[in-house]
Amino acid sequence: MKSKLNLDPKVIDSARSCAARIAAEMQIFIDRHTTVSTERTILRLLGIDGVDEVDTPLANVIVDVLKEGGGLGRGAAYWIGNAMIQTGLSPQEIAEKTASGELELLKLPTCTAKESEEKILPVVLDALSAIRKQTEKREEYLATIGEGKRPYLYVIVATGNIYEDIIQAQAAARQGADIIAVIRTTAQSLLDYVPYGPTTEGFGGTYATQENFRLMRKALDEVGEDVGRYIRLCNYSSGMCMPEIAAMGAIERLDVMLNDALYGILFRDINMQRTLVDQFFSRVIIKYSGIIFNSGEDNYLTTADAYEEAHTVLASQFINEQFAVLAGIPEEQMGLGHAFEMDPEMENGFLYELSQALMAKEIFPKAALKYMPPTKFMTGNIFKGHLQDALFNMIAVWTGQSLQLLGMLTEAIHTPHLHDRMLSIENASYIFNNARNIGEEIEFKEGGIIQKRAQSVLSEAEKLLADIEKEGLFATIEQGKFGGVKRARDGGKGLAGVCVKDEQYFNPFIPLMMGGAK
């Protein structure tokens, strides 16, 4: 298709290959390391669930034992396989006996890595088959009850209580929502474990737990069958437990997950080495389970200026795309993020927003682009806020965005009330329907404001990517080039959980998931 923005394909190719080299360079580092959260994920996928008497998840208990005893570099899968051979117990029994002190994992006789891998293979295949059943269930729903039109209407619930969230989510689905995201409680991203069981207390959101995922999935399937539309569920595979939550999401059939190491580094001060290693395994799981991942570029614009720093968003989208390629994720599962965050006082701001959104669509044509609403310049004037959201919706339908996180007129006041969500769904549905094919009808003036803006953002992004390639991604982040936030390579939270793999290390899931095992 001809570019309406007259973008130069050579510049796009050059930026993309720069990003590919940046990601490949980082992958060398990633492949040499594992983390406590990566190993806990393996344990969870092997079926280890539950908590000890002080509510520490069993996956944490085991990984702590391995880490303290110097066994983490060989990988949790090896130690579980070995223990299965030596004791004849199941992974869950091994975990329980380790927690109670009856079993000392690192003091058992040891087999070879090959023997352990063979022993554990049936358990691995069972886990993959359970995930495969969930993706088949999703495919079956899409084939039978169908889904809403794109842009999908994406709304959040955030009551802190999973049972209250369910009421709000079902109401939103009945009002027309296609995706429900359960916002996590403040600061869960900084916990180095995943809480257990259903939860009813949270601040600004609800704990991501496997049981909460299961309860919400069930509720959305019920309401989806009722309204005749598959309702997607979204949560956060981000923070300190990135891959663990991806695994829980795969097991409980989440459809969309926030997943972006750069976001964690910049906005949650998570150590960059830790989270880039974590991101890789989480993206492999996301790929295997057919989940759409969302990257967090939109957040740069909450701290940096959306007009001046637009090229950093594009550069980061290119990098996120290439990290996803390395995990085998198809374009359709790439929910690259961006946002409508320019100052509403800016003359022609709408034109620049339109240019930016269309540019993303032309550069990533098959991606499930995630478009985020105005937040930074929402004032508490709910009437003007509703108009800002309307302009945002207009651009989304015009430029073919996929996942439309609906703006709320009460942004900057409180987490959405029941009717706030209804009003925002009404706003988007009205505009999407009323202007459905506008994008196919309108072309832009050659060399006009809209074309020139996109060309200049692309060219600046290409330059930035060339600089990053020269300096390396770690160094670039240290200099504060994304979101204006500086982070140190050895700073932030979670570095102690990074470990060099030894020669016998294996993660049985990565090759099978990347190979698309049944």
Binding site: G160, I167, Q170, A171, R174, Q175, T186, A187, L190, F203, G204, F267, R268, D269, T302, T303, D305, D343, E345, K376, T379, G380, A412, I413, H414, T415, H417, L418, H419, M422, G484, V485
Partner: protein, 257 residues
Amino acid sequence: MSNVCTTATSSIDLTKIKPYGDTMNDGMTQLSFTLPVPYGDEASEAAKQLAKKMGFDEPSVVYSKDLGIGYTYFILYGKCQHTIDYTTIKVPKVEGDVMDRLECEKYIADNIKREVVVVGACTGSDAHTVGIDAIINMKGFHGHFGLERYKGMEAINMGSQVPNEVLIAKAIEVKADAILVSQIVTQKDIHIQNMTELVELMEAEGIRDKVILICGGPRISHELAQELGYDAGFGSHSYAEDVASFVLTEIVKRKMV
């Protein structure tokens, strides 16, 4: 002061003010809410009766909508019966004149004659830096430059989710003249607890009276700030110059120069 003042159209009794729609004292008020009952005539009647109990005469439901789970949303108009005596209203405010950035810089050069150090953070579990960024970061907000831009000022933005202990340690380390605390997400009053804890910790460290302590955020008023033991509180529509003016004049007033 006279209790009656004249406007273009009619006279207002400031001891008895009520909402204005298009006629003086018509009391016209718009409101919207949801009731947990199914959409229909009974629901609208319930909304009307509730509005009457709230003190509205002639309430009228102009729109109602089924929210899909047996709940109904309403938009109503009504005439407010109550009045307020405007002449007795008192609101505590941060005192003193606000200087612009250049005036602040000159004030530092003339009256303080050393670098002023300010440490700011969004504390506790709050992950929203929009407030502290608007006050401190070079760029500021809406054309009002942040404190980093001020000559004669060293402003440190520690970002979000900073524990109170870490903020205090930093303030001691850099010999801060002032601490700025931002609180944006305040669900279930978690900000009150968090802000109180900071004051207690500063007292325990023996630095409370050595540092100017300021808080800010959309739910914060100067009155609340003072109740919690802060020197000043800044709500929405406050910019770097408001905070700077207060800090600088306090430094001189307290002879911290």
